[in-house]
């Protein structure tokens, strides 16, 4: 049987990401982008859904991340693909701020012994 649990992972201090900017965050075999916009902090998958290009060098304007390679754009709050060539939405992750520290919540699946 498989069970899923939310794992809370520490990213960095909230001072570590400037406004309208992002950082790359790698955890185990997964890579993410963490954004700081006027609306708060957000987290998405690190790679653009169009081609295998990391978004870490992309531009954040308002709540939109623009891929540095082909300028596909995504809303970082929802992951929604906003303009071609990006057609597939980005996966997003819940973010929490506790004592000025940023955490993201990742759903993890564990195998549990059958009853």
């Amino acid at each position: 049987m498989e069970a899923s649990v939310n794992e809370k992972i520490h990213v960095c201090s909230s001072d570590g990401i400037e406004l309208e900017d992002l950082i790359r965050f790698d955890h185990e075999d997964h890579t993410f982008c963490i954004y700081h916009t006027l609306d708060g902090f957000f987290a998405t998958d690190g790679y653009c859904t169009h081609e295998e290009q990391h978004l870490e060098d992309g531009i954040v304007i308002d709540n939109v991340i623009e891929c540095p390679l082909h300028q596909g754009r995504f809303d970082v709050r929802t992951g929604k693909a906003l303009s071609a060539p990006a057609c597939i939405d980005l996966m997003t992750y819940p973010v929490s701020i506790e004592n000025n520290e940023i955490y993201i919540l990742i759903e993890k699946t564990h195998k549990t012994p059958a009853a």
Partner: protein
């Protein structure tokens, strides 16, 4: 498994800049692009007056050439900058100006954007770069066709008709996402309709379109092409390093203004999402890692002509003052080593 191609950029060129330095340089603004539009508008008004004053005299041709240069080179530069999305922070403004400038430049905006992003991914790579406009090495004949704009104009017209007929070349299918192809066709029809309206208007007696738009646009092409041909001519083919495939050159304030700083072309290819107004500062930040720009526009252009002329005459083509890839130094009879993709 085949190794994945690394896009040609700063990383593939072993160039590095601290993120704290590049971040402010990449910030987009509307102001600089709007000032450019205002200056361009004022300049075009003045050169239009020049054409108007010269109507009916032999001065009409030089006047239209000056007006055409001011019309064509900034149209190219603005179309390029908006295709990157870096001219204006406001997205709709950027896209509107992309359309306007691309109509003047005569290339459908989506085709412009996607072939150009491909050019950045595969800069000057044989068969992969969709914007290699001429066969290599360049001969004098090729140079003449390029400078006169014959090759480019033919390419634009053929591509426009092909896209309107939904005939997509393998390169288009490769660089443009499948979902975008119908939009390419729709836009191509809009372009053809606009150009047809202009042609019919002239036929019906609206001659001002001829004197102020069509003829200057054609006469301005050599000025535009004189700048753009310097971007990659005589540089290395199939190199992962932008420092080897691309040229920056010096030019005065007028050249920099009309060309939107694209003479900082190495810098532009290393960090393509840096807006035009930040390229001089980027050049300063990278100065220790990139080659010195080639000498001024005139000297670089004259040396290029000299090189291609000597090549056509079968003489040694070693350049004296401009950067040149060793593979471009030829002597005697030469064979084409790379075919144009435009």
């Amino acid at each position: 498994m085949a190794e994945r191609f690394a896009p040609t950029n700063a990383a593939s060129s072993s160039v590095h800049i601290d993120s704290k330095v590049i971040r402010p340089l990449r910030q987009r603004r509307n102001g600089a692009g709007l000032v450019f539009l205002l200056q361009w508008g004022i300049g075009l008004t003045l050169t239009s007056m020049l054409v108007w004053l010269a109507l009916g005299s032999g001065w009409i041709w030089p006047a239209m050439t000056i007006h055409g240069g001011l019309l064509t080179l900034p149209a190219y530069a603005l179309s390029h900058e908006t295709a990157h999305g870096t001219a204006y922070r406001t997205r709709w403004l950027n896209e509107a100006i992309l359309w306007f400038s691309s109509i003047l430049y005569m290339e459908e905006p989506l085709h412009r954007r996607y072939t150009h992003t491909n050019h950045h991914t595969y800069t000057w790579h044989q068969h992969l770069d969709s914007q290699m406009p001429f066969d290599l090495p360049m001969t004098f004949r090729i140079w003449v066709f390029e400078i006169a704009g014959l090759s480019l104009t033919r390419y634009h017209i053929v591509r426009l008709v092909q896209m309107a007929c939904a005939q997509y070349s393998p390169m288009i299918r490769k660089v443009v996402p499948q979902d975008e192809l119908p939009r390419l066709t729709r836009n191509a029809w809009i372009f053809i309709l606009l150009y047809t309206i202009i042609a019919i208007s002239i036929f019906l007696g609206q001659n001002w379109l001829l004197w102020f738009l069509v003829l200057p646009r054609l006469l301005g092409v050599p000025i535009m092409q004189s700048f753009t041909i310097l971007q990659h001519a005589e540089t290395a083919v199939n190199s992962p390093s932008i420092l080897e495939t691309t040229r920056s050159f010096g030019t005065n304030w007028l050249g920099r203004s009309l060309y939107m700083n694209m003479n900082f072309h190495v810098e532009h290819h290393l960090y393509p999402n840096t807006p035009f107004f930040a390229l001089p500062a980027l050049g300063q930040a990278l100065a220790s890692q990139i080659p010195e720009p080639d000498p001024g526009f005139w000297r670089t252009s004259l040396e290029l002509v000299s090189v291609v002329l000597r090549r056509s005459l079968g003489k040694s083509t070693r350049a004296r003052s401009i950067r040149q890839a060793p593979q471009m130094i030829t002597e005697g009879a030469i064979a084409s080593t790379s075919k144009a993709t435009m």
